[in-house]
């Protein structure tokens, strides 16, 4: 069964004193709106390109989860490092990934961030603060990025750098050994790492009730001896507030933090998945009652008094940006086949093609005759 929505569905946390999300100036709240809307519109563009077969692999949506990606990553500083999961395109955009990079990735272009080696949003830009955007590309085996981000944040601790790491996992990844080992290692080493569990109800087709016997995933924090907090993942300001405080604790030397965001995956695992396993009406109910963008638009209009025209202008800007990015991506080159051989190792810098791909003269192969040929002694019968 999907998570009980209850209070979460009806409007999220009430405004309260010291709420860091509520305290953001209107200008920054409009930035949050921009990133959420950009995420959704870019994914809609990707769906169109997928249906035109221009996206050559699978397509992964974060429909209905934009608030938790955007609100949490917005709580980081530029020097911090974030590692996304497949539904965190919004977090990547906030951290500096561009629509044209994402489009080229999905369309397997030769000048995409991974030059056609990896799919979708599996790419990063990691290294020194100020020189890189600070996000680390995920791999498909779930939970693996938790230990790796423990290592990234270990270097922050070793070097005395004022940087924090943030890593996303889903409800499903909490069942992996990598998640457990990584978060335990980080906790023992008191590393400045924030681990976010996006609880969207399903891991592919498996509901959370078959993933874990815990009542709430945040309870796992107790087992690791770290601080945990849970919040409404579809309330972008609550997500920001919750993450900002966790990031501040990690930065202040209070060690590893665990957050659980309650949300709901309104699309299938990937575009091909028809979600036959979701109870009737559940997706529609979340769309009608608990869409993170709709909810935030109400906040912007009712509490911040933002006119509709301002939001319309942002939407139009986003469409123009995505149109321009799509044109660039579609015009970008495909990879050259031989580029597949480059860069498995630093040394050697490239692998050799196999002989049947070299255009070799087949007739000359295998006909050399060594001096030693013919020393076989038939009188011995070929056996000792």
């Amino acid at each position: 069964m999907p998570p009980k929505t209850g209070l979460l569905a009806t409007g999220g946390t009430a405004p309260r004193a010291g709420h860091l999300g509520e305290a953001l100036p209107t200008e920054q709240k409009l930035e949050l709106y921009y990133w959420m809307r950009l995420t959704r519109t870019l994914e809609e563009r990707l769906v169109a390109l997928y249906r035109q077969t221009k996206v050559v692999g699978g397509l992964f949506r974060s429909l209905g989860q934009e608030a938790d990606s955007v609100g949490s990553c917005y709580a980081l500083e530029q020097r911090d490092v974030m590692s996304p999961l497949i539904r965190n395109m919004g977090a990547m955009l906030v951290k500096g990934a561009t629509p044209v990079e994402i489009l080229k990735q999905y369309m397997a272009r030769g000048d995409s961030p991974t030059r056609g080696r990896e799919l979708n949003i599996h790419f990063g830009d990691l290294g020194e603060a100020g020189k890189t955007r600070g996000f680390l590309g995920q791999i498909s085996p779930l939970g693996d990025m938790v230990p790796v981000m423990a290592g990234v944040t270990l270097t922050f601790k070793m070097r005395g750098e004022d940087r924090v790491g943030l890593v996303y996992v889903g409800d499903g990844a909490t069942s992996t050994g990598a998640f457990h080992e990584g978060i335990n290692f980080a906790a023992v080493q008191q590393l400045p790492l924030v681990v976010i569990i996006e609880n969207n109800g399903y891991a592919y087709s498996t509901p959370t009730s078959k993933q874990s016997a815990v009542k709430q995933f945040v309870d796992k924090a107790i087992g690791y001896g770290i601080t945990g907090e849970r919040c409404d993942g579809n309330d972008v300001l609550a997500v920001y507030d919750c993450t900002k405080r966790a990031v501040s604790r990690a930065r202040a030397g209070e060690g590893t933090q665990l957050l659980e965001f309650m949300t709901f995956r309104r699309k299938g695992h990937a575009e091909h998945d028809n979600q036959s396993y979701v109870p009737d009406g559940e997706i529609e109910r979340w769309a009608a009652e608990n869409d993170p963008i709709d909810r935030f638009v109400r906040v912007l209009r009712d509490r911040e008094h933002v006119p509709q025209s301002t939001l319309d202008e942002i939407d139009a800007r986003i469409h123009a940006e995505i149109d321009a990015a799509t044109d660039v991506a579609e015009a970008s080159p495909l990879p050259q086949p031989h580029d597949a051989l480059i860069g498995v190792y630093a040394d050697p810098p490239a692998e050799k093609p196999l002989w049947y791909r070299e255009g070799a003269d087949v007739s000359s192969l295998g006909k050399e005759r060594a001096e030693g040929w013919g020393t076989w002694d038939a009188s011995k019968g070929g056996k000792s």
């Binding site: 680390l136 938790v146 230990p147 981000m149 050994g177 030693g372 076989w376």
Partner: protein, 325 residues
């Protein structure tokens, strides 16, 4: 210069590299204050501090994953698997994450995963394994497995300086049985180069690690008892293989025996045989033969372990069979 053991040679390499490069640090189970299950890292925490010799929880996935993350950020981690058998726990992290990092994401991942390997020590099924073949099959990893103290030191220094992930197999049977005099100065043995351990004209044994010593013993016996002069090629590096040295010895002697302690099916002997077949077929006077372990989990009792693992007598028998083919 005094002789030091294979184990001391590894420690000397770790010590020298930690002194040379502040980015080098160690991570593993019981490696700090205790100095490691075999004492390979003994004294390093006292010398370099807890920040650079880190005792970890029993978490091979986290050890390897954290090393990868630190390596991306410019560090050069050297991590210990307490016994190399436990590297299986980190198989996903090594093959899916580490091995692909440079290719798929242009992420530098200079790190060394080292650990005591191999049998002949009555260690039973989980303290005796030779899991190298599983990693040789994975593009993106380098694999070394030294047989001598000199190579153990020189290859460890090369592994730490390598810009990719190197799996460093240390043979625990050799730890305190083999000694060598270290060459003076900064002794680095290049990865990817085999070593001619014994010259001969009648047959080539291609081997590595503890089996290299069994092969040399067999070669001496064959020289004395049969007048057969066996050439012994110590591979030292298993990925990438030194094709040039392998093909040179095959073309010289025209007969090949491959000896390894790893199990037979899917062991590196199969790959070597295929390469020799593809490139040196016309130079062979006999089929390539193998002496390997049986395809059996390694048992504990001496009578059982000795039966399963390759012994000097097996090598002598196989050479005699090959030269009279």
């Amino acid at each position: 210069m005094a002789e030091i053991t294979y184990l001391e040679a590894i420690r000397e390499a770790l010590d020298e590299e930690m002194a040379r490069d502040e980015h080098v640090f160690m991570l593993g189970e019981d490696i700090g204050a205790f100095g490691g299950a075999f004492k390979v890292t003994d004294g390093l925490m006292a010398k370099y501090g807890e920040a650079r010799v880190i005792d970890s929880p029993i978490s091979e996935i986290a050890i390897v994953g954290a090393a990868a993350g630190a390596a991306h950020m410019g560090m050069r981690p050297v991590v210990e698997m307490q016994f190399i058998d436990f590297i299986a726990n980190a198989y996903d992290m090594l093959t899916n994450y580490v091995a692909t990092a440079r290719y798929r994401a242009f992420l530098p991942t200079p790190m060394v995963v080292r650990g005591p390997s191999g049998g002949y020590v009555r260690g039973g099924p989980f303290h005796s394994q030779n899991p190298e073949a599983g990693f040789i099959h994975t593009p993106g990893l380098k694999v070394v497995y030294p047989a001598t103290a000199e190579d153990a030191k020189g290859l460890m220094k090369a592994a730490i300086r390598d810009d990719d992930c190197v799996l460093f197999f240390e043979h625990k049977y050799l730890y305190r049985r083999i000694k060598g005099v270290m060459p003076a100065g900064d002794h680095v043995v290049p990865i990817g180069k085999a070593r001619l351990a014994r010259e001969g004209k009648d047959l080539s044994i291609i081997t590595y690690a503890a089996a290299m010593h069994k092969s040399l013993e067999a070669a001496d016996r064959l020289s004395k008892e049969d007048g057969i002069e066996v050439e012994v090629l110590d591979l030292r590096t298993l990925a990438p293989l030194d094709d040039e040295a392998i093909f040179a010895t095959v073309r010289k002697t025209n007969r090949v025996l491959i000896v390894h302690e790893d199990t037979r099916t899917g062991g590196i002997a199969g790959e070597l045989t295929a390469r020799i077949n593809e490139s040196c077929f016309a130079h062979l006077d006999a089929p390539v033969l193998r002496v390997t372990a049986h395809d059996i989990p390694l048992p504990y009792a001496p009578a059982l372990e000795d039966f399963v693992l390759p012994q000097v007598d097996d090598i002598v028998l196989a050479v005699r069979r090959l030269v009279s083919w």
